[in-house]
């Protein structure tokens, strides 16, 4: 292949742009391996002089970050399972089970998307306070139960299921619930993975609602704990970078592994 100026220009631009985009993440990792105070020198170093995991050790031993990491994992896993439980059957029904007022109801749900979620936060907090759910995992999970986006995603995919298949099962005498669990769910597998990845990443990264509803340090998720730590430990650059790596790495790795499913969900959601 001949090297043409166009090739050099396009690929050079992509390489520079990618390097600039990845740089903050790479620096985060490098600084997390530095000795305390090492990053705050002039000129600022790019590599740790003698890489060590001391900052991570301090996070676990002195700050008990394992607790918050476990909270994050528990909330994200539960949010994922709950959102699947609520959205799959609803999305399938909106696609394949005709019932009175279905189309109007679906349009109303889509219309509700224009309302920013934060509008609901003040009364939702009071409601959960009444129910005794403030400062519980359940309180943090409530917004993830059912979502218009999730229902929409499943509906889009479920519309591709051939009606003949469902009719044949009905003629064979299968009930609607049996058809859903035995025939529909296996067919929905790809969108189940997609929705699961989106909800897991979304709930892991979520900040404002957990910040409001989880004030007890032992219940906080990593982003909330990290925001609190970063206010107390402004000077401890290296320690904060270790905390950031700990927060970002799980979702970044999960994304890299399941990238195809994530992108599919993103593109299906964007054509609404």
């Amino acid at each position: 292949m001949r090297l043409r100026p166009g090739h050099v220009l396009v690929n050079g631009a992509l390489a520079v742009l990618s390097a600039a985009t990845l740089f903050p993440l790479a620096w985060m990792l490098m600084a997390s391996l530095m000795a305390p105070g090492e990053a705050s020198q002039f000129p600022p170093p790019l590599w740790p002089k003698s890489p060590s995991l001391a900052n991570y050790r301090q996070l676990f031993e002195a700050h008990g970050i394992a607790r918050q990491a476990a909270n994050s994992l528990a909330v994200a896993v539960a949010a994922t399972l709950l959102s699947l439980a609520f959205n799959l059957s609803a999305g399938y029904a909106f696609a394949k089970l005709p019932f009175a007022g279905r189309e109007r109801l679906f349009r109303a749900l889509l219309g509700a998307l224009v309302i920013p979620g934060q509008v609901a936060m003040m009364p939702l907090f009071l409601l959960l306070k009444q129910m005794g759910l403030v400062n519980t995992y359940a309180g943090a999970l409530v917004p993830w139960l059912a979502s218009v986006f999730g229902i929409f995603l499943v509906r889009q995919y479920a519309q591709g299921i051939p009606d003949d298949l469902l009719e044949a099962a009905r003629i064979d005498g299968a009930g609607e619930w049996r058809i859903f669990t035995a025939i529909v769910l296996p067919l929905l597998k790809p969108i189940i993975v997609t929705l699961a990845v989106l909800v897991f990443l979304g709930s892991w990264n979520d900040f404002m609602w957990p910040l409001i509803v989880l004030t007890d340090r032992d219940l906080q998720t990593l982003p909330v704990a990290l925001a609190g730590l970063s206010r107390e430990h402004v000077q401890d650059t290296e320690l904060m970078m270790a905390g950031s790596v700990l927060t970002v790495a799980p979702v970044l790795i999960l994304f890299l592994v399941l990238q195809r499913h994530y992108m599919k969900g993103l593109l299906m959601g964007s054509v609404k």
Partner: protein
């Protein structure tokens, strides 16, 4: 169980959850914004009074609200075009037939989107450090004097815009890339036969074909930008000189720091009204342009 009944049974749990935990609270927020719900009412509901539009009037008289609205608008006006511009630029580069390793570059450019906002805001706070931050170090190399990014009232919001563009451009990039890939190659071929140059192809084929998608992308991006909260919470705490207090930041402080939940609900509804109005305006403008 017949099919019609089954439909209702299948959607019931999701609808109930949405009704109880979203629609109900939204309506309650509207009612709450007409009351003086504060820390006393939180302790005992009997202290709750109906105050009509007092919260809204007080808000319009509160200079901090106007400052927050101005700050948010600055973020939207700077951030949305920069972000979509970066997305479109990166998508065009990736779409170029000359590009190699597209999968790798796409993943690299998209990576910030899936990262945790709080964590990368913490990272950027150090990159923005006046003395030890690598951004100033890089600027120094090309002869630009150090900027006190997060301490200077003039630069704090642009710094947050920079972080936000870095964090978000990959999202729209992927959507626009899919849009570019969907444009039939014949269109370009025909125009090339007519002797059209590259810029003309972009101007007369790519942009018009992509226009509906750009509209959706810009509406969603703008809605997202109006909801700026975590970045100022982590990086500047609203400072310096309240230049990074956003509308949502104000809502959070009113509601969950001072427990003025009535007033916070009013802030939320004003934000909703503004976002709604701007979305309608965008749709209207695009329709008149399309009709021309």
């Amino acid at each position: 169980m017949n099919r019609r009944l089954a439909g209702w049974v299948f959607v019931a749990p999701a609808l109930a959850a949405i009704a109880v935990f979203f629609v109900g609270p939204v309506l309650a927020a509207l009612a709450m914004s007409l009351t003086d719900f504060d820390i006393y009412a939180l302790a005992d509901w009997r202290n709750l009074r109906f105050v009509g539009f007092d919260n809204y009037v007080a808000l319009l008289r509160n200079p901090l609200f106007w400052q927050a609205l101005l700050n948010t608008c600055i973020f939207v006006v700077l951030g949305v075009p920069l972000s979509i511009g970066a997305s479109l630029g990166a998508a065009l580069l990736l779409h170029s037939p000359m590009a190699r390793l597209q999968g790798f570059f796409r993943t690299a450019l998209f990576a910030p989107v899936v990262t945790t906002l709080v964590a990368v805001a913490v990272v950027w706070r150090y990159l923005f450090h006046t003395r030890y931050g690598l951004l100033n170090h890089a600027l120094d190399a090309i002869g630009i004097a150090p900027v006190d990014w997060l301490g200077d009232p003039l630069w704090a919001m642009p710094a947050i815009v920079l972080l936000s563009v870095w964090k978000n451009f990959g999202y729209n990039m992927v959507i626009l890339l899919a849009g570019l890939q969907a444009i039939p190659e014949d269109l370009y071929e025909a125009a090339r036969l007519d002797g059209a140059r590259r810029w003309a192809l972009f101007r007369h084929i790519t942009l018009p074909t992509l226009a509906p998608m750009l509209l959706v992308v810009s509406i969603l991006t703008m809605a997202g930008h109006f909801q700026l909260f975590a970045e100022p919470y982590v990086m500047t705490q609203g400072g310096p000189a309240q230049r990074t207090v956003t509308v949502l930041y104000l809502m959070y402080e009113e509601g969950f720091k001072w427990w003025s939940l009535g007033s916070a609900s009013a802030v939320a509804f004003v934000l909703f009204a503004i976002m709604f109005a701007i979305t309608l305006l965008q749709l209207k403008v695009s329709r008149t342009q399309a009709g021309r």
